[in-house]
Each structure stands twice: as C-alpha cells, then as structure tokens.
Amino acid sequence: MSFFNNAKNVLQQNIREYGMYIALFVIMIIFTITTSGTFLSSRNIVNLVNQTGYIAVLAVGMTLVIIIRHIDLSVGFLAGFMGAIAAIALVYWGLPVYAVIPMVLALGAFAGLITAFLVAQMKIPSFVASLAGWLIYRGAILVVTEGTGTIIIPDEAFNAIGNGFIPDIPGLDAFLPGVHKLTLVLGVLAIAALVWGELSNRQKKQSYGFEVLPIDMFIVKLVFMSVLIGAITWVLAGYQGLSWTAVVVLIVTLIYNFVMSQTVLGRHIYAIGGNPDAAELSGINVNRLIYVVFGSMGMLSALSGILFASRLQSATTTAGNLFELDAIAATYVGGVSAAGGVGKVVGSIIGALVMTSLTSGMNLMGIGISYQYMVRGTVLAAAVIFDVTTRNRGK
C-alpha cells in the first residue's frame, strides 16, 4: 500500500521531469502496436537514433540559448550551409576529412559569434538577428551549390559518421556470434556508472539531510533506467552495434551535461537565465557568455550539418530546412522553459527523440506528410501546456 502511495507522491512531485520519459514510452508503445512490431525492430531503432542525431545536437545548443532567454533561428540553414562547405572542401578542394571537420566546426562557431555580436553589442533582439541569419545562410547555400546542384560526397570516412558503426572487439568472433560485443560492454559500463553515480549522489544528499526519494522508489527508478539502457544496448548489439552518430551525440550530451550541471560556466548560464540583472550585478559578464552560448550553438550547427551531409552522403540545396524548428520544439518538449533559467540538456535529447519517433512511426504507418506536421504541432502544444500547468501547480 505504502509502495503505491509513494509512487503516487513521487510521480506527482516530479511529474514534469518524468513526463517526457512517460510520453516517449507511450509513443513507442503506440507505434509498436500500430506497426505490429516493426517500430521496435533493431533496424528501425538504429535508423531512429541516426535520424535524431542532427536534430539532437542542435537541440543541445538550443537548450543553452533558450536558457539565457534568447533564440537562434539561423541554425537550420547554417547547418545546411556548413554541410555544403564540408562537401566542397572534400570534393573540390580535396582536403582530408581530419582537416575539414575542425575547419567547418570553427567556421560554425565563428558564424555563431557574429549573431552574438549583434545580440550582445548591438543589442538587437536575438529573434531578429538570427532571422537575418536564417535568410542569409539560406541564400548562401544556394550560392555555393549554384553551379553544381547537389554535391555527392564520395569520401568513405566522412560518410561513415552518418552511416557507419563502431568496430567490434577483434578476435572474439566465436563468442556470442551475431552480437556486437563492444556495444554490450559499453552498455554494461553505462549501467554501472549510472547506478554508482545515483548511489553516491543519494548518500551525499542524505548526509546533508536533504530530501531524497523513498528507498523503494529509488530502486524502482534505478531498475527502470537500467532496464531501459540494457534494452537499447541489447537491441543495438543485435544489429550492427552502436552507430558513429550515436557516439557523437552521446559525447556531445555528456560534455554539455557536465558543463551545465557541474561547472562554474554552467552555473553562470543558468544564473543569467534566471535573472540577467542579478547575474550582471553578481559579477557575471553577461555579454561574454552570450558569445560563448551562441558560439557553441554555431559550432553545434556545423556539427549537425556534418552529420546530415554525411548521412545523405551529399550536400543538397534544401539541407537544413526546418531543422531550427525541430530543435526548438525538441527543447520545449524536453522541459526547457520559455521564460529562461530552467532546462536540462538530457531533457532536450529526449525531446528530440520524441519528435523523431513521431516522424519515424508515422512514416512506418504510411501517414501523409501533411498530417504528420499537424500531429507534431499538436504534440508540441500539448508538451508546453503540460509544462506550464505542472509548473504552476508546483508553486
């Protein structure tokens, strides 16, 4: 009895945080039923992860931008433009991959700094500044692909980023054939890290007398998350293992999550979002952090462009179309507050997964693109309504 009471309390108090996980879960179940299992097939899950990749990295950057109460509309076409630059550098300039990627990332960061300059120094609202960028980069894509149209990228290493998988541990072919061992090992490590991290965190909180989850709920949470990671690992390992895109997204997520939750920089970013005037008077250089946040956004746009170009093995004239809106939607679905100061990187990743799951599931069901837009719009509205109402209740 007390178990169910606990469960009810915990759910009620943390409904905002768990809401999106529940939503993702429900969406997955619905699609699994409506597609009679195809949705959960290894192949589709891998596809889903790779499709989410280029939106997910944008959503990570956008999380920071929205936390500091700004917006960046230019990221979609900036991604497309950077993808085109990467293609040109590889195909026409003949530069090697290892030079092209850092160069494009740096260019992206630079583009972000230009937006930051307009916002921080010229005091132009970021909506307007980045809308200008939206137009300019859209034009820029057309300019650079004018003569050639779609640029096909023949470089295998580059294309592996969007299509390839991590290699397996060599010399173990006889053991568990058909299963990707390195992926399994990584999955087990991830679960171990999760359990260890949660346990030590809980101990610390208890030693300060802070509120923690009741022990039964804590165990339920741990089991749930471990099973989730375990299941995903198993599904992936049964196919070709972890894709390079997934690795990239994981690394980006880990870094940004660490920065936002553990470092002085992250604290300052949240502080600016919570109250920019108070942050400034507390000695935080707000303008400087606008550069940091928009610069990082630009760099992640470039990364998104690379992931997308690599996935398509080409740079197209329409690359990046509507990416910015998908990324913004993902952050809102993931619980980032439009009022600023609140939001988590991991939430946005889940939000991105929700949005691509919708697309992927509806594609499998053969639903037309027009209805897909409507469904996604409805889900976005529902997510934000949910967010706003639960936030008010918390007060």
């Binding site: 470092t263 002085v264 502080a271 919570g274 109250n275 008077l281 507390s282 000695g283 100061g341 609140v342």
Partner: protein
Amino acid sequence: MNTPLLEMRNITKEFPGVKALDNVSFQVAQGEIHCLVGENGAGKSTLMKVLSGVYPHGTYSGDILFGGEVQTFNNISDSEKAGIAIIYQELALVPELTVYENIFIGHEIRNGFMVDWNETIKRATEVLKKVKLDVNPAAKIKDLGVGKQQLVEIAKALSKDVKLLILDEPTAALNEVDSENLLDLLRDLKNHGVTCILISHKLKEVIEIADTITVLRDGKTICTLDARNGQVTEQILVKNMVGREIDNIYPKRERQQAGEVVLEVRDWNAYDPKAGRAILKDVNFNLRKGEIVGFSGLIGSGRTELALSIFGNPDSYHLSGDLFVKGQPRKFSHPRDAIDAGVAYSTEDRKGDGLILIQDVKQNITLANLVEIATRGVVDNNAEVRVANEYKGSLNIKTPSVEQKVSNLSGGNQQKVCLGKWLFVKPDILILDEPTRGIDVGAKYEIYTIMTRLVEQGMSIIMISSELPEILGMSDRVYVVASGKIAGELPVEEATQEKIMHLATN
C-alpha cells in the same frame, strides 16, 4: 456589535515543509483601518493571499466570511467582484502606459467594441482627485516617482468600487513625506467608508493610523489590540511580534578611531545616455576603514546611481572623475572588477536585480564567488552546501533547508540571503542599498548586529537608507544627497532628522 465586514475562521495553509498559517482567525470591522504586523515569515502576506483568492478555495482549510456570506474565491477576479482589492508590495503597473490607461487596465470603459477614451480620462481624473494625486492623467507611469505610482495603484483599486482595500507594505519603498501622504489618504478613504487592511513593518505609522492591530507570529494569531485609545506602544507590539523585548534596536558599538581612507571619490560626474541627463554632479566623498557611512536623501536623489557608477557601472553611464580604492586609482568596467577589488554592492531591489528567485538558497549565496568553491572550473557541491549552511547559521536565515527556492522565503530572509551572497565574496567595502527595506524589527536588529560585527572586524560599510532613524542610529558619518549632488556631510553627533531633511529638500 454588528457583524464584521470580514471574518476569517481557523485558516490553516501549508506549503511543503512549512505551516505558513496555523489555525488563524481574523476579523475586520466595517469602516476601520486594521493593521497586520508580525515578523518576516509570520504569514501576513499568505493570509492576504488566501483572502484574495491567490490561493484558491480548497488549497487551505478554514472559512472566509465577507459581508456576512461564506466566500469561496477561486482566483483574484472572484475576490475583486466581491469588492476586495489588494495592492502588492511589488507594484503591478505597466511603466510604458499612461496613468489613465493603467487605472482602467483590465476593466476598460467600452463604447460598443471600442474603448471610450474620453470617458476613461474623465473618470481617471475623478479618481485621481479622490487620491489627491495631482498629475496629468496622460503622463506615463515610468515618469512618476514611486510615491505617486503607489497612489495610482490605489486609484486603480478605487476605480473598481472597492469595499475592502488591502495594502501589503505600501510604505516600504516610500520616503517620510510620501508615506505621510499615503497615510492621510487612507484616513480620508476611511471617512468615505472604505475599510482597509494595512501590512507594515513601520510600527510608528501602524500605531499612528490603526484602529485595530492584529499580531501574527509563526503563523498564529497572537493578539488583536484596540489601538484607538492610545495605549498601544511600539514596545508592546515588538514584544508580541518577537516574543521577547528588544529595548535598543541599534546595537552598541565601540566607535574606534577612524582608520585610513579605503574608498574615495573625487569630482565624480555621471551622465545617463539612456535618460539623456546628468545624474551625478561633482560628487566628492570618502569612506574610512571600520566606518559605517550613511547616505541619506530622497528617493530618486541619485544614491543608487552613485553606488552603481562606482560598482563597475553596469548601466553604462558616461563617467568622469577619480575613484580610489585603498589608495589605488581605479576604473571598473564591470561589477566583476569591483568585486575583485574588494567592493560589494547589495541592491535595493532584491527581487528585481538581487536574487535569482527560481534558484535555491545555496545557489544564490555562492553565485558571486563560485570560483572559491570550484577547482579548475568544476563546482564542488559539498563545499557549496557547507558554505550555504554556514551563512544560514550565522545570518539566522529561516528556511527548512538551503535547497529551498528563495522565492519561497519571506522578505526578510530573502534579504539575508542577499547579504550572505555578498559576505561570501569577503569584501573590504560593502555598499548596502536599503538593507532593511520591508524587514521586521527582529530581523532589522539582527542585520544591524551583523553590520556592527563586520565593521568591528575591519570592514567598511556604505549604507544607503531612506529611513532617517536608521541613518542616525547606525552611521558614523552622514552624507546627504540631493539631485545628484552631495548636499552636505554631517558627523552623526550633529545630525538630526530636521537637518537632514532640510539638506535633502533644498
């Protein structure tokens, strides 16, 4: 005795971890001015929020009877319909709109589909006359002083045909003259049959104006006193509020030989490009080690601007003149530079630009000095909790834990969090702007005690305050500021309220 206008019976309201109201009963008679006093966090604002429907029926227990009928308000507009108007301490006016637009915002006078502006202006002029405010109804709110804005708020309430007017600390941000005006207006309204509940920490004005006083402590009603016969004194109130006697609110301090000059400003001028006018003119002053220097003056005289212009100039004024900190000439281009040089500034507007309300106590306390608890950019969460708990203890911050959001703290405790933030940067020079605004006597006494301890340890404090008794009680020296100039300097032995007011107004 006829039935009271308002009766609140056995009201209990709980927040997670806090019982804000514990079985409170409260009665207000028709046509009286009823003052509600109590320490910070006693539950005054919460009680009024229950009454006005901010906390809807069902989120508290107990009954509300208004005009003899049981009321179940679900939101503010329900209570407004019943004739209850509440004015919060944070004014709710739109700065860019005109006075008449603000008065009728939300209940515009219509003529078919359109707003009838002529009628609006006519009616606005009438209510402005009622509150004795002599301004052009077409003036913009942002161009009025706080005192006048407060009157516009009241005009707004009166335009809605109000039976019960609730004011939550209306005079906290007002100077003596404006406060006096406001109190006169309340008396006048009372003669016209408006009943009024007034929350205030200024006990003198409470005693002056109240017909009845109810004291709350720790969410309970302690007593209700009849104040008409002149028997109620500040001592009696304080004793009921705090539960013990405080005879001298300003702690005794060994006034030492003044030390060397730690801060000096010479021929300091500031021009505000946004407002397009000079805001500081030829300011000269200094601060010595171990001293508390009071800055007195009217609201808007330029004291806050002076502090900001020294503290890294965040509003980008054009400055000229010299600033010396501990003998070194300095030019701070960001608050960070000032902090690094040992100067701290605690703002007058703790909610506006002092605290991050959506964050918790520990995050606010460590905000200005995160590097101290970080190694290579990574915050040590244990150290953070330790530091926060230290200041929670030494400043006696009342909160269930340092993980509580500061928006859930009462005003006085929020102020202590601000203070904690600045003490943690361990400054040599601390500028406190209205450090006790909206704070109860007990907490005031604590803050004065802390200030005393700090100067005894060698810190130097600039205290900007609009409360003359506080200036006289705490300062070693007083500068009076008027229209962006230093109008005079007085050693505290020579300073009197009259002299200061004379300098401030001429």
